[in-house]
Symmetry: C2
Subunit: 330 residues, 2 copies
């Protein structure tokens, strides 16, 4: 009855960190989720919302004896967090994160973390408009792609552990190297942020903005939505992924000049261009793009239903890891 319990630490209890906590607490017995946030009020709210079992009021205290440490802070804070927690990490602990860019984060992990700790970078492609712990919810990661970028030296067993943790939350692991990851998210996440911000800048700079504002409705709301994202986060994204973002802004600008020419010209060529964009998005919505790709091989890893749901039944870190490991049954 008094069997040993396992600890998972979540550093940063914003929307992502708290949502992870809610999902983990709902899926595993015998596991304590320890949460820490630099803002004690946020930490308290996360606990009241059921995201953590216990709040640790110091960062080093949060990771003591934790089998898994999930760093869910903005990318620019990751370095400091890794530095502060390192002396207190258990041997064999697995560290992951949720930051938006990965090249810099992997460099920091390589540089700071001891050899006895494995780092698997993570980036769940999910989120809702309401920022912070208020926006946290169970099931946030259901069917969401969750990019995983392991440090080269990470053991397969540690990777499997994180893969199954992600699958338990309904996420779909997607392996990429850090440069590839940052290049891809620059196009499909950071470029849209820049475009939204730039739409707000363009219209609000107009002398007619007051009149426009009354007319602006759903179309404007959607395309400008990302301008309401956390300024700190956007700043961190542009700082750590600058070159790829600039590249995609340039591609976008060149393409916009082509679209401008099509609109000026009108007729069938414009219609074809509009139809192509419509079809491309339709294909994307149907999940028909990227069905087969070079990352598919990772699907050999056992599914959550096979192993992860029972993984915390054991009583040792070693056993925890072995349960996730690809065993002879494969």
């Amino acid at each position: 009855m008094a069997s040993e319990r396992h600890r998972i630490a979540i550093i940063g209890l914003g929307q992502i960190g708290a949502s992870i906590g809610m999902d983990i607490r709902g899926s595993f017995k015998g596991v304590d989720v320890i949460g820490h946030d630099k803002d004690p009020e946020t930490a308290g709210l996360a606990r009241r919302r059921g995201a953590v079992d216990e709040v640790a009021y110091t960062l080093p205290g949060a990771v003591e004896d934790a089998a898994i440490v999930i760093v869910a802070v903005p990318v620019t804070a990751v370095r400091e967090v890794l530095t502060v927690i390192t002396p207190n990490l258990s041997d064999g602990a697995i560290v992951t994160d949720t930051a938006s860019t990965k090249v810099t984060v992997l460099e920091w992990a390589e540089e700071i973390l001891p050899q006895s700790v494995d780092f698997i970078g993570g980036h769940p492609m999910a989120g809702v408009e309401t920022p912070g712990v208020e926006g946290a919810q169970t099931g946030l990661f259901q069917s969401a792609t969750w990019a995983l970028i392991p440090l080269a030296r990470a053991k397969p067993a540690s990777i499997d552990t994180i893969v199954n943790l992600v699958r338990t939350m309904g996420g779909e692991p997607y392996f990429a190297d850090p440069v590839e990851h940052d290049s891809l998210v620059a196009a499909i996440s950071h470029l849209p942020i820049a475009l939204s911000i730039n739409l707000m800048r363009t219209v609000s700079a107009s002398p007619s903005w007051r009149e426009m504002a009354r007319m602006a409705a759903g179309s404007f709301r959607d395309v400008s939505r990302l301008a309401s994202g956390a300024v700190d986060m956007h700043n961190a994204i542009f700082a750590t992924n600058r070159d790829f973002v600039l590249h995609w802004i340039d591609s976008y600008t060149a393409q916009l000049q082509e679209l401008r020419a099509l609109i000026e010209q009108g007729g069938d060529t414009l219609r074809e261009g509009l139809q192509e964009a419509y079809d491309a998005r339709d294909e994307w919505l149907r999940g028909r793009v990227g069905e087969t790709d070079q990352h598919r091989a990772y699907d050999e890893i056992p599914t959550a239903s096979e192993s992860a749901l029972s993984v915390f039944g054991g009583d040792r870190l070693a056993r925890l890891a072995s349960r996730f490991r690809r065993g002879p049954r494969n």
Copy 2:
């Protein structure tokens, strides 16, 4: 008991036309809503969904004896509709529309409609992603700005009728002249459409689109959403509002170069730029932009609760009009 009934005709039973029908049928007794759509299947579905009392299978038949005719077709179809219905319009009928651009529509109305008919152009700033009659719903226009652009010769009583019809649906009438309207919507509606389409064009042209597609999530979904709008409608919008759209694409491009420079430079100037965009949207979301403007004077017009809800209780077109008219009680 067998008192005379009034007819309102809706031409085009897509999302907007059918939603208008649902709201009108829910608000007025003694009124028959006659619907017509060039696609009989759409018309049938609109009737089954409760958007119309009766389907007219010919366009001229739909407007016979109608006190109000609402033309809810894509802008490029408006000219043909006005031409076909003109011989069958009753003297004193009021015609309005819902098309996305107004300069061209007002020119057509001036040219085609007889002097005995008043035209008040309309443009409800509302809509949901599901296109067509399937996306129609009651309450779609609740709190939505509804631009009204009367033909110069339209009688005040006719304008009042449309104002109150709009208010009955929960819409907020907003008067503009056609050039102003087209310029404003170019910025806050048509530019976002071009930006969404261009985002799809940019990423789907990339050799990495397959990998991107798997990573693309909510941010991408929102900013690219308008690329899934009806190709016909977008084509019509760009055709009838070309010059303003090109103007705003150019403004946007210039602003994007500035944002690019801020991102390249980083630091406090970037942060300030991001904060400005955040604040501008925040102000917009709070409804703090454009609170007082030159159109406010139109608020003298009686509200729906004062007059429109009971307006169809009378038994003559003349009485219908007089009920809407600003009377001595003001």
